[in-house]
């Protein structure tokens, strides 16, 4: 029985130890087994062309190839012990533990540290009489890649099964830390088998002389180097962003990244093989940042939120920003460390400031070859000063051409006031977001510029009229107020245009007008409506 126990412990030299800490918390819950081995780069098949075992990973957090059942067919070393309550593996409808869980990449067996011992030691490990071997001492001087691992293995206290001397029990599911370390007892008494990593235990084997004089093999474990080391995602973004009425889009500054926390004297950032942060907005991938041999990542992005085309109402948009980060170390057995965080950002979109009318053109309405056309109004130096669009005779028609800025169906109606008196109009064109209104220059319009009739009425005789009196301003320009009512917000938008008026057109027949006309060359031009 004792020999079997010794042999068992001896064989555990090359075992990969399960994670000491509840690694479930660290291994990305969002990542499937297949995703993890892809990201970390663990081969799916080992050198013996055996497939990686997902079940063992799920139960023991160990990457092994083949399966306990396959091993059973190959070697008589393989054994199964029933452990009724704690057994992790099921075989022939019994819960228990296999002695060998599978093989590693090289094809060597990976032993199960939870396999129950064959016999209980007679004393606690710190009382044991360890035997010096020069080969043990040499095991510490191999060319290990990371010296921190070796230093850790030398200095850390060793773990062993919980031994109950009174009841003669040994609990292989419950490791206890004993005040034993290789540096304290002498490196020659401990053989370094497996280096601890950030997340996995190290393995050290010893030979000891028992009280009965026999030499027994023992296998100790160590805690992982940085069991609490973890990755922490972060987002830095305002809780609330406003899109003003003048804006069609707003840029949201977002900083995101991750930090590796709880690094230790032995767990260094240059052990990090890959560290990546990905940002998702409303579950859609947006950007990522990654690095190597660094414990901190950060990136700034600008995310633009645009007002939906033609959307003019107020709206609140909630952005769910999520950062998912993962990292893995040079030690593949550490697996994937994962963390995510999320934050909601409220984007308050103010109702768009509407500009219903792009521009208003005001012209003289004419008929040319039976078709309605427009011509420019007469403009003079005097009309220009007063922002008047030009001069028109009373009795004629103005063509007000409104260039609409919004969808036509947004417009409820147009009202026109001339000198604050509402006036009727006729729509003579309503196409391609251009509306042309025909407005008669009726009694609401005041004569603001003198012509012959005005002056004759003033002076009583045509002979007293001086040429320089023609075109004299006698009133402010007429104010044409266009009120545009939108059905989307029921708001009235006012636009003002100014126009000067002279006498009724029939009163000016055979008379001439001259007063610093500034657009003489354009007056004969006609344009289609």
């Amino acid at each position: 029985m004792c020999k079997i126990f010794v042999r068992l412990l001896f064989l555990l030299v090359i075992i990969y130890i399960l994670n000491y800490h509840p690694l479930n918390k660290l291994i990305g819950k969002s990542y499937t087994f297949e995703e993890i081995i892809d990201i970390v780069g663990i081969p799916k098949y080992n050198k013996n062309n055996e497939k990686i075992n997902k079940e063992i990973y799920n139960k023991y957090n160990l990457f092994v190839y083949s399966s306990p059942e396959n091993i059973l067919k190959k070697t008589n070393l393989q054994r199964f012990k029933e452990v009724k309550d704690k057994g992790k593996y099921s075989y022939n409808k019994k819960k228990g533990e296999f002695f060998i869980l599978g093989t590693n990449y090289e094809g060597d067996y990976v032993y199960n540290v939870y396999f129950p011992v064959d016999m209980v030691p007679e004393s606690l490990p710190d009382k044991w009489n360890f035997i010096y071997y020069s080969s043990f001492e040499k095991s510490w001087n191999c060319n290990y890649l990371y010296i921190e691992q070796v230093e850790y293995m030398k200095e850390t206290n060793l773990l062993f099964d919980k031994i109950d001397l009174k009841n003669k029990t040994c609990d292989s599911y419950n490791f206890v830390e004993y005040n034993i370390s290789p540096i304290k007892y002498g490196l020659g008494k401990f053989r370094l088998n497996t280096l601890a990593t950030w997340k996995t235990m190290g393995i050290i084997s010893t030979k000891r002389r028992a009280e009965d004089g026999t030499i027994r093999d023992s296998v100790f474990a160590t805690k992982p180097m940085a069991v609490s080391a973890n990755i922490k995602s972060w987002i830095d973004v305002k809780d609330k962003v406003d899109m003003s009425e003048d804006e069609d889009s707003v840029n949201i500054d977002i900083s995101f990244g991750c930090d590796v926390i709880n690094l230790s004297k032995y767990a260094k950032e240059y052990h990090i093989k890959n560290i990546t942060s990905k940002i998702y907005i409303n579950d859609r991938y947006v950007d990522s940042v990654s690095g190597s041999k660094t414990a901190n990542l950060d990136k700034k992005i600008m995310f633009a939120i645009s007002r939906e085309k033609d959307e003019i109402r107020a709206k609140d948009v909630i952005l769910n920003i999520r950062v998912e980060s993962y990292m893995y170390t040079e030690f593949l057995v550490d697996g994937l460390m994962y963390d995510s965080c999320s934050k909601e950002v409220l984007v308050k979109i103010a109702p768009k400031k509407l500009v219903p009318i792009n521009s208003i053109d005001i012209n003289l309405l004419k008929v040319h070859n039976g078709t309605l056309v427009v011509s420019p109004l007469v403009q003079t130096t005097k009309t220009n000063i007063e922002n008047s669009s030009g001069i028109i005779e009373k009795g004629r028609y103005l063509a007000l051409s409104l260039s609409l800025n919004l969808k036509r169906e947004y417009y409820e109606n147009f009202d026109i006031y001339v000198n604050n008196i509402k006036q009727d109009y006729e729509i003579i064109k309503d196409k391609n977001n251009i509306i042309v209104l025909k407005l008669g220059v009726e009694d609401n319009f005041n004569v603001s510029i003198t012509t012959w009739k005005t002056l004759r009425d003033t002076y009583g005789s045509i002979f007293d009229i001086e040429n320089q009196d023609i075109g004299r301003r006698i009133n402010k320009p007429n104010v044409i107020k266009i009120i545009v009512k939108l059905n989307v917000n029921k708001i009235n938008y006012e636009y003002l245009v100014y126009v000067d008026t002279v006498d009724y057109y029939m009163d000016n027949i055979n008379y001439k007008y001259f007063d610093n006309v500034t657009n003489f060359e354009e007056l004969d031009n006609i344009y289609e409506i």
């Binding site: 008929v367 005779e393 004629r396 002279v502 057109y505 027949i509 055979n510 008379y511 006309v517 007056l523």
Partner: protein, 143 residues
């Protein structure tokens, strides 16, 4: 010889008297025409224009289209002339030229001179006139 010279002088005297008589007659008739028809010619502008005002299509004129009821205008013009000037008058032609904005009017007037010079004691006088009818023009030149 003296006799011959006397005859010549007498002949020349008669010729001169005849010429002077003709000049007198023509002058009298001319003066009569001027006196009677001068006012008419002057007033024809106003007559045509006022009739044009009356018979123009105002709605179309708003859009710079010149359209007149020419037949009615002829009636109106003829009536005014007959009532105020000469009873025996004939309006031969009235038309409006859009490109020049002028009315072309032709009148035929029967005229009875004070001095009877022919068997038929009346003259037919033809009057042609252009009357401007144009909406307000804008001129480039300033004062």
């Amino acid at each position: 010889m003296k006799y011959k010279n006397g005859n010549i002088i007498l002949f020349l005297g008669i010729v001169i008297v005849v010429i002077l008589t003709l000049i007198f007659i023509v002058g009298v008739i001319y003066m009569q025409i001027n006196i009677q028809l001068g006012t008419l010619k002057e007033d024809l502008d106003l007559i045509v224009r006022s009739c044009a005002y009356k018979n123009v299509n105002i709605e179309k004129l708003k859009y710079f289209e010149y359209e007149f009821n020419i037949d009615k205008m002829k009636e109106d013009i003829s009536y005014l002339l007959r009532e105020n000037y000469i009873s025996d008058i004939k309006l031969l032609r009235l038309s409006y030229d859009d490109s020049k904005n002028y009315f072309d009017i032709s009148l035929e007037i029967k005229f009875i001179p004070l001095i009877k010079i022919m068997k038929k004691n009346e003259l037919n006088i033809l009057i042609n006139k252009q009357v401007k009818f144009k909406l307000m023009e804008v001129e480039k030149n300033n004062n």
